[in-house]
């Protein structure tokens, strides 16, 4: 029933991930519109149930697990075999995982639209779906680990480090942060929030960050033809990420009702997160230095460069807004919404766009159909996202300053003041979503009408080893 063709599971994961992106982002835009037009669905049959509080988790769950994680699985199944110098351990299992992922994501969306939520941000799914999520991550981890176990290439390139670390730790983060998957929530009170944010932040630290950064370390040498500037630095970055990310979760509860020492620990570790980020950025700059001309020619490289700029901003914001004094202003405001999108959309989704443009021709043997649409996808995403991010960031500062100024009395003024920023955000969101529809159309056309991709350029293992400098 499931195909065993080489590269098929990676390709299928990419195809379905972009569909989940379209669905997930559409819910995001819907939520953004509800903030501008609160009576949009009032008295509309059936739609009236889908108020902001129900739509928002559908958006976050589907973009995080449907789109980004789906694209990450594809990237793992594409890059890991090439790094290991063998085929993927089991394409058949990989294709089963594709089906499993798609069914689970359907369940994710339906369950949340029906209001069956656990009431924890990013951990909304009921326990059965959580069990299945762990199974899904387990299936991927098994395939990845077994591919490495049977590898011919003995040296582990740094991308392999990041990806191996991620698939091993992510299920652990998920299980602990989701109350050990118990249906009856054994951890109550503020510790529930502590566990929630351990997970909420570390799904970023142990899943989205390492796989994304690993992909950058793979793609950059491939696209520029130059080895990574400093191999040693990339490894330092790996260990620091896996060391300092973990205890930072409580920075989501700074100045709140959790023990003071726990906040301090979280803040201290958050600030040190600057180190691994700067190792990545230094390496990126070092590798690209003298080859900036290549960026002009290549949309995937443009996506990577923009992602790194956004990564720099988000990872400077992050440690700073963990500080008590900064958090006092920015916490609870639109600033944080902007920050979250900067990481997951501006950085990691952009990296995945680059990965898809790079990997799909090599998986399908067909060129990307339209270079012009690629340009449109890039510029519309970039401009839309910049508008989105800047409006939320400024809006957040306006909100936070207003509360600080009069100790939160006359709260409604801060709601009124947000209107222009909410509108600008919805406009930016519309541009982002339109860009993705162009992207999906381009992928579809590539699959059915793309020109043949020259086989000489198809990533052979020897070429991989040469370009990555491993």
């Amino acid at each position: 029933m499931f195909s065993n063709a080489e590269g098929s599971s990676s390709r299928n994961f990419y195809y379905t991930a972009v569909l989940w992106m379209a669905i997930g982002m559409s819910f995001g835009l819907f939520a953004a519109l509800l903030l501008v037009l609160p009576d949009l669905v009032k008295e509309v049959p059936i739609l009236e149930y889908f108020t902001f509080g129900r739509v928002r988790p559908v958006h976050t769950n589907l973009v995080m697990f449907g789109w980004l994680s789906g694209a990450y699985f594809a990237t793992l199944f594409y890059m890991v075999p090439r790094l290991a110098g063998v085929k993927l351990y089991s394409e058949r299992l990989g294709n089963f995982t594709v089906l499993f992922h798609n069914l689970l994501m359907t369940s994710y969306g339906v369950v949340l639209l029906f209001g069956r939520t656990m009431g924890r941000e990013y951990a909304e799914q009921p326990w059965i779906n959580k069990m299945l999520t762990v199974v899904m991550f387990g299936l991927v981890a098994y395939n990845v680990i077994m591919t490495f176990a049977t590898r011919k290439e003995k040296e582990l390139y740094v991308t392999a480090w990041y990806m191996l670390g991620a698939v091993i730790t992510t299920p652990v983060v998920y299980i602990i942060g989701n109350q050990f998957l118990f249906p009856n929530n054994p951890i109550a009170g503020v510790n529930d929030s502590v566990a929630n944010w351990f997970y909420g932040h570390n799904i970023l630290g142990y899943w989205f960050t390492p796989v994304g950064i690993g992909a950058v370390y793979y793609l950059l040498p491939k696209m520029t033809g130059a080895p990574v500037w400093s191999h040693r630095l990339s490894m330092i970055g790996f260990w620091v990420i896996f060391f300092v990310y973990g205890p930072t979760g409580a920075h989501h509860l700074v100045n709140g009702p959790v023990p003071y020492w726990l906040q301090t620990v979280a803040i201290a570790f958050s600030v040190t997160l600057i180190i691994p980020v700067w190792t990545v950025l230094t390496n990126f700059y070092g590798t690209l230095n003298g080859r900036w001309g290549a960026v002009k020619e290549s949309v995937p490289l443009k996506f990577l460069v923009s992602a790194m700029v956004f990564y720099f901003i988000t990872c400077f914001q992050g440690p700073m807004q963990a500080l008590r004094s900064v958090s006092a202003i920015t916490h609870f405001t639109n600033w944080v919404v902007g920050h979250a999108h900067l990481a997951l959309l501006g950085t990691f989704s952009f990296i995945m766009f680059a990965s898809i443009y790079y990997a799909l021709p090599r998986l399908t043997g067909r060129e990307i159909w339209s270079a012009k649409l690629m340009e449109w996808h890039y510029w519309l995403s970039l401009i839309g996202f910049t508008l989105f991010f800047v409006s939320l960031t400024i809006g957040g500062l306006v909100q936070g300053s207003h509360w600080a100024l009069n100790q939160s009395s006359s709260f409604i003024t801060s709601v009124i003041q947000q209107k222009p920023y909410h509108i600008a955000r919805a406009v930016g969101g519309t541009m982002i979503l339109s860009a993705q529809f162009l992207f999906i159309y381009n992928i579809f056309k590539s699959a059915v009408a793309g020109k043949a991709f020259e086989t000489a350029a198809r990533g052979s293992q020897a070429e991989t080893a040469a370009a990555t400098g491993a």
């Binding site: 503020v190 939160s408 709601v415």
Partner: protein, 311 residues
Amino acid sequence: MKNKLEKNAALLGLGAFLLLMFSVTITVVLPMLQGDLYVADAAAPVYDDANVALGREIYRREGCFYCHTQQVRTIDNDTFWRAPKTELKDGTVVGDRPTRPGDYANDNPALLGTERTGPDLKYVAHRLPSKDWHIAHLIDPRSTEPNSIMPSFAHLPANELDALADYLLSLRDWSIPIVTYAKYMGPDILNAGDEMLPEDYQGTKNPYKPGDPAALARAEQLIKDKGCLACHGTDMRGKNKTNGWANPPFPTDWYKAAEKHSDQFIYWIVSEGTLKEDGTASGMPAWRQNGVSEEDRWALVTFIKNLNTKK
């Protein structure tokens, strides 16, 4: 750099795993060992009332916590969200503080929230103790606050709205005792006279002369700050179905009140509200317990009585 880790995948994976376990130990396990920190505070709500518990389920189901926090931070910016400062009979002072872990001991899940698109709700029952208000607000948020961007929950069945309102009224500092001198008269209030006055309010006297300009100016400011007109209408004629009030009984027309009621009667209503005997159910909040001083309440009375001269 060539080292063992570059060849040994198992060692690499183990290293990553152990580092994660270090984090789990200090930030998940250690806080849980501080058991004494999480003993329920006297201020903490309990959810043994079935309707309140159902309300909390609905609050969670509809995702209210995505826009409303339930935590008062330890910084000045959050002062407004604190429960009112209250001195108990034995002299201890309660309320007026940031929230602590003990305030959430009975909460599962904890609904601390991360966004304040709408106001903090940890102590909302002190600011807005009227169930009528909450139900009207849930059915049509724009009827009580024209600039609200909250969705309408008119599609929820009446029993769920009732439960949700009961839950919102449970969001208070429970160490502050509920004391009320109010009588709930519903829409019949305009037919009531001074014979209704509780003992404490008989024989009280307005310190201001009718139309005292200082009192009127003070009252105007208070009306703006406390949002009186959200319910009583920007024209002060009271709201009803035709101008957007979603839930009877309807807030009183101040012109009619000025005509009908004595100074003492209005002073009593403004001070004690029109809540039911247990102080938690229906009607207008008791402004005496919501930071409006005696002088200020008399200023409001002067303002309302002064409407009699306008028409």
